[in-house]
Amino acid sequence: MSSVPSDKVDVEARRRAAKVIHEKFRKVLDDILKGKPPKLVIPKRTLANTRFDPEKGILVMGEDVIERELLNMGEARRFMQTILMASIIYQALIENEYPTIRDLYYRGKHTIVYRDLRGRKREENTWEEQAESDSVIRDVEVYTGMLREDMLILSKEKGKVVGRMKIRSGGDTIDLSKMGHGAYAIESTPDLIEFLDVDAEFVLVVEKDAVFQQLHRVKFWDKYKALLVTGAGQPDRATRRFVRRLNEELKLPVYILTDSDPYGWYIYSVFKVGSIQLSYESMRLATPKARFLGVSMTDIFGWKGKKPYLTERERRNFIIKAKDLDIRRARELMKYSWFQTPRWRRELKIFLQKKAKLEIEALASKGLKFLADKYIPEKIQTGDWIE
């Protein structure tokens, strides 16, 4: 599979990632050659070791580390797995491959044969389920301080983008405004994308693929000089990294449009501060300046001077009664410090009072024109978003 790398960015990324891995594990090797019991010092990937950094506006890992020691009975297996996984990733980088996490699982999975103290042959697999090897990948990420995208590990593509911009990827130049009815699938290695001509003024991220398609068909992005992105539900890492780069490198404001329910708000939260389970990625994946455009509770019910976007009748037709699970989720969100701003408190309070939620499609059914030409532009122009 070894081939000449097609593009400079790729070559550079590989060189950088391989160097980091080599240096990080060189330490382990040196310890062993010096006769020192080797250990991998890895930041803890637990909820307890996750905290919100209000300054950076993202979730970060705390100071807790685990020392994974070879000579500790409980950790020896994981120690072996980490070395094994690192060596496979390292080799793949050097040999110009793009393994998927499933590939890594298969490449590393084999049987260790050994003898017990009675001399009987015994067998043990390096890992059993992919969940086990995926977890080891996360350890390698945390230990090296790199994301799997940095190590050119592929995963399933999920995110899409269209808009007024040209990019270069894999040596090809792609015009994101010439994708027909389709869209550009955001690749697993978003850091290998080069931004060329940008003629957009903001980024609109929509939670739902269906709404993305509708806005694309009416060429929303063309009319309003935008980049239109979707993560199709819970966004994958590549989409989040891509959005982050748009915001960080091109200084484009990012607006996020989700359903008006706790699930939608959590998706916004993942874009903005990172995911709780994988806080180590936030430094590279989160977009702390992302703005929640809607749909907000005040859009539905109005607030003091604000007139609601829905009439009394529309509310009756479109509103869905919140389920117990939604209520529980909302209560959960209230505990997170980044949801404790006055505006968010107001949202959650209204939600818990009305016990009502609304899908974006409801706004679209009020007329696509309403969504594309009234609701979104008006909210952006009037600054009616939540930070």
């Binding site: 080599h22 382990v28 070879l70 260790i112 017990d116 001399g119």
Partner: protein, 567 residues
């Protein structure tokens, strides 16, 4: 011997009297003939076992008690003559036991085997039998079931002749009836006794018990050579493991705490002392003149009263008061124990080692103690692991004066103690491969019944057994603790060492810088592997266990990954 004999006869009568008024007119021999279960002859299975046991114990008493290294041959054969007569039933047996002991003088043979309660053993001394009844019970049982006389061949050490007697016991007269006698000049220096008893038995049922009995005898007497031949012609040989024997027990005078009215009467009859004071000083142990005077003064009995006078009817109350006071008086010294013959820690360990090849064995001989005027010594040995099978409760090997006790285990004080020990404290988790040997040596073993199979729970004995078991068990705990740590270290080695080849291979790959990368050579992997083997073995310590070869951790590490090739 003459005195012992007269004493014994007397005891027999008084003993009989104590059994109950109904039997007053019956001879002792007849009494035992009718109540044979009391002596352990309740059925053909038990009778065969009991016969072997009585003869083997007599044989051992004739040897080790007299400082002779025992050589004992036991054989059980089918009696073909009786078989033919009774329609070929395989239930007639000849039990023969031969020893190399002191022998029985020709003049004594008849009484020794043919008169119930005649015994050389009726002195206060720790011997295996005490009632002098066992072998006669076997003879009686034999003549009642098979109708054949007991056959005895014997020679004493300095005699030029071997004498033989075949005799029955006349149960009504309690007398031996000799039916055949013989005499041969000796061609060798042989001395000892060979006894054959013919009886009805059940070998198929008794076999396992008898084998167990012989085995346990070999455990407690590793200085004896024992040969056992079964009716099928199977021969079991337990060779002598050592020439070291426990010192023979010595005769001792009774302790005042251990006397009863009957014994006191016998003593007063036979004593040469002229006054009660002299009786106390000369016929009892642990009583000096000053102590005796002080005692008599305190209880208010005149010291110069004549022994014979005390036997008169009008003094009966005084005699009873005297004996009661002797039993309870605190001023006497504790009973002596020099005459006791414990087996000793070394011999116990030796015997257990041979039988179970245990991983660990230890034993303790406790200092002498006394109960009711009888001194006793408790010895305990524990064996662990090896050929022992894991069991739900400790395999208990009970001995009383070196006799293995096989029946009535749950009635025994040793069982009570051992089963109530919290073995968890000593790191013993059942099922466990553990055997506990308990030996009680005493001038008087407090058996529960005439069958002599279980010992009563006398508090002093119970507490000594507990202390002894706990003492050895504490040492066992140390061993098991080390063993557990050792096993833990080994487990650790396996858990870690099995990953060495995988880690070496991965690190060899990661060790090559990206700009100059090439697949690592086998040499490079090998070098890393060696470094890892050294590292792991240096950092995991295998605790040493005394008596067990200490293994080099590096060897253990290598054994885990030896000859294993990675895919």
């Amino acid at each position: 011997m003459a005195r012992a004999s007269s004493v014994a006869k007397q005891t027999g009568k008084t003993g009989e009297a104590r059994k109950g008024e109904r039997y007053r007119e019956m001879s002792v021999a007849e009494f035992f003939a009718r109540n044979r279960e009391l002596a352990g002859f309740s059925n053909p299975t038990r009778a065969l076992y009991q016969t072997v046991r009585e003869l083997v114990e007599n044989a051992l008493d004739a040897t080790d008690t007299h400082g002779i290294l025992p050589f004992i041959q036991v054989s059980i054969t089918y009696d073909e003559e009786l078989e033919a007569k009774h329609g070929n039933a395989k239930k007639w047996f000849r039990v023969t036991v031969e020893d190399n002991g002191i022998g029985v003088p020709p003049t004594v043979i008849a009484n020794a085997f043919g008169r119930v309660l005649f015994s050389s053993k009726y002195v206060i001394r720790q011997t295996r039998g005490m009632y002098g009844l066992g072998v006669k019970a076997a003879v009686l049982y034999g003549q009642m079931t098979a109708g054949k006389p007991v056959e005895v061949y014997s020679s004493i050490g300095n005699s030029e002749y071997v004498y033989s007697r075949k005799l029955y016991i006349d149960t009504e007269k309690n007398e031996p009836r000799i039916v055949e006698r013989g005499q041969w000049r000796k061609r060798s220096g042989w001395h000892g006794t060979r006894v054959t008893i013919t009886l009805e038995g059940d070998w198929s049922r008794a076999k396992s018990r008898i084998l167990e009995y012989i085995k346990r005898t070999a455990i407690i007497a590793p200085y004896a050579e024992i040969v056992f031949e079964t009716p099928e012609g199977q021969v079991f040989v337990f060779p002598r493991l050592t020439n070291k024997m426990p010192p023979p027990p010595k005769e001792a005078k009774p302790h005042p705490h251990g006397i009863d009215v009957n014994q006191m009467k016998l003593l007063l009859q036979s004593t040469n002392a002229r006054t009660l004071l002299q009786v106390l000083v000369t016929e009892f142990q642990s009583v000096g003149k000053i102590t005796a005077e002080k005692f008599l003064k305190q209880v208010g009995i005149p010291p110069d009263i004549k022994p014979r006078d005390l036997l008169r009817k009008e003094y009966n109350d005084l005699l009873v008061r005297l004996v009661d006071s002797m039993k309870s008086y605190r001023g006497f010294r504790a009973p002596k124990s020099e005459h006791l013959s414990p087996i000793g820690e070394d011999l116990i360990k030796l015997g257990l080692k041979r039988m179970f090849e245990p991983e660990w064995v230890d034993a303790v001989t406790r200092p002498p103690r006394a109960y009711a005027g009888h001194s006793f010594i408790v010895e305990v040995g524990i064996a662990y692991g090896g050929a022992l099978e894991p069991v739900q409760e400790p395999l208990l090997l009970r001995y009383a004066n070196k006799i293995p006790l096989l029946y009535e285990e749950r009635e025994d004080v040793a069982y009570k103690v051992v089963s109530n020990i919290n073995w968890k404290i000593y790191r013993v988790e059942f099922p466990a491969p553990i055997a506990v040997l308990v030996h009680i040596a005493s001038t008087k073993i407090p058996y529960k019944g005439v069958g002599k199979e279980s010992i009563s729970d006398v508090p002093e004995i119970e507490s000594e057994i507990r202390t002894a078991v706990q003492e050895v068990a504490r040492r066992l705990r140390l061993f098991l603790g080390r063993k557990a740590r050792e096993a833990e270290a080994r487990r650790k080695i396996i858990t870690i060492a099995k990953y060495i080849p995988e880690i070496a291979r991965g690190l060899a790959m990661l060790a090559k810088p990206p700009e100059k990368w090439s697949p690592p050579s086998e040499d490079e992997e090998r070098r890393l592997m060696e470094a890892l083997i050294k590292l792991v073995s240096r950092n995991i310590e295998i605790p040493e266990i005394p008596g067990v070869d200490h293994e080099d951790p590096e060897k253990v590490v290598r054994s885990v990954i030896e000859n294993i090739h990675l895919e």
